[in-house]
């Protein structure tokens, strides 16, 4: 048994730098078979062998969901990150063989919506690219509000401007342009759903503003693409496996479990899907909960941890793995 979704062997078809920070990678199935169709907003987990360290990062698919010949992802280089995006930028070349997961969608469109209101911040544009492909094929009504640092750093800005001039609204930081969110969310026709993908602050801002404007939770969709945070190293006792492992500064608990051959189910590796939820049997210290899955009560009770993003500081942590 392997955790996660079934793997797909792919060949890198092309590597296309889009600007100083952002590069697009296109994959095709290595034996020339069709790739599974997916739905707008889905992501794949890309596996990287970074000089002995296995990295598994989720990236939103941004190509046309109906194109089963190739998948595209767009990766922003994060020089402060743990190294996955740096690896993609510096080591991945056309022709290379890689392994990705079957797509999983944790940010799907609600197709009962009468109107789709999309709010993207920076690299958060990527899931909307595949969603827009999907929506235009059914002529659904959408509006994209896209915040970028500058024209130069706005990925796909030109393509979007050309293809969807009436749907696109751009806000450039360097021009002091700002999305007037409260005005945007007030007065939307009933049946509108709002989708946000971008930095955590932006997601919180949209959710909070929507709540103040009496939006039902079921009409507010968000995806946060935070990678696991680095932190201090710590030790964890695994009750079922009967061993103690250490988690490195730049390693997640999930990665440390996998490195010790302990299988843990996962889908997103970003604290959102809930698959890796693990019972805590003993906790003498503090769990740094970095997920968006557990409830506040569960966090306070110290009985659950999400190994993909959360860490521990203290004397002893025993988990049910």
């Amino acid at each position: 048994m392997t955790a996660g979704t079934p793997k797909i062997n792919v060949t890198v078809e092309s590597v296309t730098p889009l600007n100083a920070l952002i590069t697009r990678f296109t994959f095709r199935e290595s034996c020339g078979k069709d790739l599974p169709a997916f739905s707008g907003g889905a992501h794949v987990v890309v596996e990287m062998d970074d000089h002995g360290t296995k990295r598994m990062n989720p990236y939103s698919l941004m190509s046309d969901p109906n194109d089963t010949k190739r998948y595209s992802i767009t990766v922003r280089r994060d020089d402060e990150g743990r190294g996955g995006s740096l690896y993609m930028h510096s080591h991945v070349k056309a022709g290379m063989e890689m392994v990705i997961s079957t797509p999983v969608n944790l940010f799907s469109l609600d197709l009962t919506a009468k109107k789709h209101l999309m709010i993207a911040g920076g690299i958060g544009i990527t899931p909307f690219m595949s969603q827009i492909h999907q929506l235009t094929s059914t002529r659904a009504h959408f509006e994209l509000h896209y915040s970028v640092r500058s024209d130069a750093l706005g990925a796909y800005l030109q393509e979007l401007t050309q293809s969807y001039p009436k749907n696109l609204h751009v806000y450039r930081d360097d021009q002091d342009e700002q999305l007037k969110l409260a005005e945007l969310l007030n007065g939307q026709p009933v049946g509108t759903h709002v989708y946000v993908c971008g930095p955590k602050g932006m997601i919180d801002w949209v959710r909070e503003t929507a709540r103040e404007a009496d939006w039902p939770d079921s009409s507010v969709h968000f995806e946060e693409f935070t990678a696991p945070k680095s932190g201090n190293a710590f030790e964890v006792t695994l009750h079922q496996s009967n061993k103690t492992i250490s988690v490195d500064r730049h390693q997640s608990l999930l990665e440390a479990l996998e490195a010790s051959s302990v299988e843990v189910p996962y889908l997103c590796r970003g604290g959102a899907c809930g698959q890796c939820e693990t019972n805590v049997l003993e906790c003498d210290g503090n769990i740094e909960h970095n997920d968006h899955w557990l409830t506040d009560d569960q966090r306070l009770s110290k009985t659950k941890i999400m190994p993909c993003v959360s860490r521990f500081a203290g004397k002893k942590l025993t988990i049910e793995r």
Partner: protein
């Protein structure tokens, strides 16, 4: 907690709660017959500003003037009074179609009214979590004859004769949200002519 008492049923049968005023930018209240009592009771605990953003659509359905002065005294921004659901329908649909995200719906009265407004409101995109319901008054059912697809309103006895195709129908608890009706199935399908005596099940 339901105000009206219903006989035990299957778990998929619709259930109803008690109206409770929420803060919202726009409140749409739709009630028929004794459903007015649910609105009037809710108003006792509602913040004063609640009715400033409220639109009440009230269908008398045979109750004449019984509740009108009480409803008028609530001070709703808009108050419409109509004799029947059919008379009020164009206004209900127009209001739902032109409303905005943030609206809260309060539905009170008979199952036929509540079910039909839920059906139309969700079709226009109102979220179920924004709809509150409270059953009041008659428990008579709105039934679809599964054979001829005709709709029969306010059925009180079981079995009963379909007013469209003439078959005698057994009233099921099986409810369709899509058509906002319980299902009526031929009672003597396997033994034609053997029709049990009608019993008044719904008042």
């Amino acid at each position: 907690m339901s105000t009206s008492k219903f006989e035990p049923s299957i778990i998929s049968r619709p259930v109803y709660g008690k109206l409770s005023a929420q803060t919202a930018s726009h409140n749409l209240l739709i009630a028929d017959a004794q459903g007015a009592e649910a609105i009037i009771e809710m108003a006792e605990h509602a913040p004063k500003s609640f009715f400033e953003q409220a639109h009440i659509i009230y269908i008398q359905k045979g109750t004449a003037d019984a509740y009108l002065s009480q409803l008028e005294s609530l001070g709703a921004n808009q108050l419409y009074i109509g004799p029947t659901y059919q008379a009020a329908l164009p206004r209900i649909l127009n209001t739902l179609e032109n409303t905005q995200v943030g609206i809260k719906l309060y539905l009170a009265g008979t199952e036929g009214l509540i079910g039909q407004v839920i059906r139309d409101a969700t079709r226009f995109g109102v979220a179920m979590s924004d709809i509150q319901t409270e059953h009041r008054g008659s428990t008579a059912r709105r039934i679809q004859c599964v054979h001829c697809k005709g709709i029969i309103e306010d059925v009180t006895v079981d079995p009963f004769q379909c007013s469209h195709c003439g078959l005698f129908l057994f009233v099921r608890d099986h409810y369709s949200r899509r058509i906002a009706a319980f299902q009526g199935v031929r009672v003597d399908a396997e033994d034609p002519g053997n029709i049990p005596e009608a019993v008044e099940r719904f008042k």
